[in-house]
Symmetry: C3
Subunit: 290 residues, 3 copies
């Protein structure tokens, strides 16, 4: 056992901070890893800090992990609904805009993760990592197939985090039409580029979006709501093929309901035109604030 | 960041106590908020202490949150059954009388919550708060639609907590008839009164109970068991309209199975006579010991 | 409140160790109970250490608890699948070989449990306790119906823990035939013996195994995979009657799918020949490393 290493990690529990940005600014920590944070109300939790990307100070607050693409809003679909596609439950599980938490940082590529930072931290920008399922935490950075961040401080306009952003733009079935999508924010690539983004989604999907953005609260033709379109700005309305998370009802087909929506729509058809790539479908989406 | 405030909250982790009553008595703490507790066996956890109501010292040990009234003993119905209404599973998930725990204090109005205090703390009285779903913890007290507590030390007769009380009065299908209900204990109102209690339930239900009590382990006409009838003493046997939690089988109709049983029974019928109010149906039930 | 006792338990949180073996070796602790451990990456967690059996130093890393034998890969079947028996999900929930964690040590006989030690600790041997459901932690040792351990350091050949062992021998439907089972390791009994092991399973099952071993990754006639055959070395191929955990598909019958597979196969038939005993079916399987 590397005793000194463990002792150093353990001593981090005495740091008092509300975000990884605080940890960087107040304690001068520059090493990626797990740190303890405390919410404004006093809840203490451990999460991963990215201390290197674009100056560091990024707090991991959530991961969206698809545990079963064949599932249709079944157990494990915490970012859409675990109750089946049902118009009587327009918000689904509602985790995009409540204070429920689940999972652990070390397990964030093996299952859904949401910590108190999701609703507690007041931030300006977001960073997103797509990391292959079950990848170990010490290799997330190198293993990610796509990494990017925003740098225009857009969260200041929407309450400071996703909890408040999605209060304003509810991830709810039948809350509006395709034209009512939320903000589309330009991104800076840390790993990957626009061409790679294009190739992560199906050929027909590429005709419906512009790469180089992150879009929040998309709505499709049938008025189903989705939470995040990672890497793209939506132009079309078949958003279930390139956006993730969602409300509780997908009218076109229950197969579209789930954390990764219809990413596997026509993959078994021999020549898929809508399905997303296997790479992005089998990667967890890690969400950071700064 | 309010650094001194966070530091103060963090320092609470050095307190050693088994209940909020201990925190009050030993450390003289008088502020509502999160504190660390330790079970007799050594499990450490954080929960909310109400340090003001009737002298304070109340420990939040659980919340019953209905995530989906249309659900029928589906995912999230931890206080009844997540396996469907099934006579072969008379105890359902069994959480009223086991040591399983779930959720967090800050998330207690967003999802079910149960901490080790539920089975570990030896108490005399209970307090109950009905707080609208997703209400933030700092405003629970003011936001509650109903708050009350017992003051006759009834828990001393039943083992000191709900874990032991429900060992004696199992929340189990077919364990007895409507006449075999558990104790009905008089309450003192901290917010609300008997009239308000009446109005929280349907007009027909009001003919079946007396307000001003809390009843444990009710049994309905079809021998389905429920855990808590909040604010009332049962006289009738259609307890599925005003009692919550339950065993694993509701013979009359699977729609009655769930954490909030049949609170939505005839709400869609235009002129509901049994359904509970929208207010109580969309509030989490927070359970405290002292 | 026994204040000194609580204080002593609480002080254990300053120990820095990666396993109960470390706690014993570095800090000289000899008392069974809860201790804090830290993973190589810094995640801190509390678990139970058995400090007495065969020299002590055993870390509880998981428990397999059957919440509903009638369930068929439904909610709570985390060690097989919560998605129903489905050939499109050959790995089921995949928890035998990922970093997802759930449950608590004190609740380990009331629900499934898996902590970071499962994938983090590098060990040589395993110990297994079968403890009746809902038994309190302070009496697990005396209450167990079967306890045994290995002593040939077999884990050194398979990566040091179950996480790596099951990487090599995936708990996956259709990954091989009955002949492709993983290692069968001889055991030393701490409570019980070969005769008792025999009697825990059905009469027909006894013709298919030798007691006195623990077998990993068994495969049945229909190519369904199971994780652990506790107490026995498989000779036959109807392993669903005496092995637990599993992948996501059981072709013979969906009733075989679940954490405790087909332990209740013909119990309702009057004269069961395959069903396991009520005793083992209603006990959680606690897994330790050293």
């Amino acid at each position: 056992m590397d005793f000194e290493r463990l002792q150093k990690l353990s001593n981090r529990s005495t740091d008092i901070a509300r975000s990884c940005k605080d940890i960087r600014d107040i304690y001068g920590e520059k090493e990626d890893g797990l740190y303890y944070l405390t919410t404004a109300y006093g809840t203490k939790y451990q999460t991963f800090c990215d201390m290197t990307t674009a100056g560091g100070g990024w707090t991991l607050v959530a991961s969206v992990h698809e545990n079963s693409l064949p599932g249709r809003c079944t157990v494990g679909d915490r970012w859409s609904s675990q109750q089946g596609s049902n118009p009587d439950l327009p918000d689904g599980d509602g985790n995009w805009s409540n204070r429920n938490t689940f999972g652990t940082a070390e397990g964030a590529t093996s299952d859904d993760f949401k910590n108190p930072g999701y609703y507690d931290i007041l931030a300006e920008d977001m960073s997103v990592w797509h990391v292959p399922n079950n990848f170990p935490i010490e290799h997330w950075n190198l293993g990610a197939i796509l990494r990017y961040h925003t740098n225009n401080r857009f969260l200041r306009l929407y309450g400071g985090n996703l909890f408040y952003l999605f209060m304003r733009y509810p991830v709810r079935y039948n809350t509006g039409s395709c034209a009512d999508r939320g903000p589309a924010v330009p991104i800076v690539y840390d790993h990957g580029d626009k061409e790679l983004t294009n190739n992560l989604y199906g050929p027909n999907s590429r005709l419906e979006f512009d790469p180089g953005y992150i879009t929040f609260r998309a709505i499709n033709n049938e008025r189903a709501a989705m939470a995040i379109c990672s890497g793209v700005k939506t132009k079309g309305c078949n958003t279930e093929y390139y956006c993730i998370g969602g409300g509780g009802h997908f009218p076109e087909h229950s197969k579209q309901c789930g954390d990764f929506t219809a990413f596997d729509w026509d993959r078994n058809g021999g020549n898929p035109v809508w399905s997303a790539s296997k790479e992005i479908s089998e990667s967890a989406v890690l969400l950071f604030y700064r």
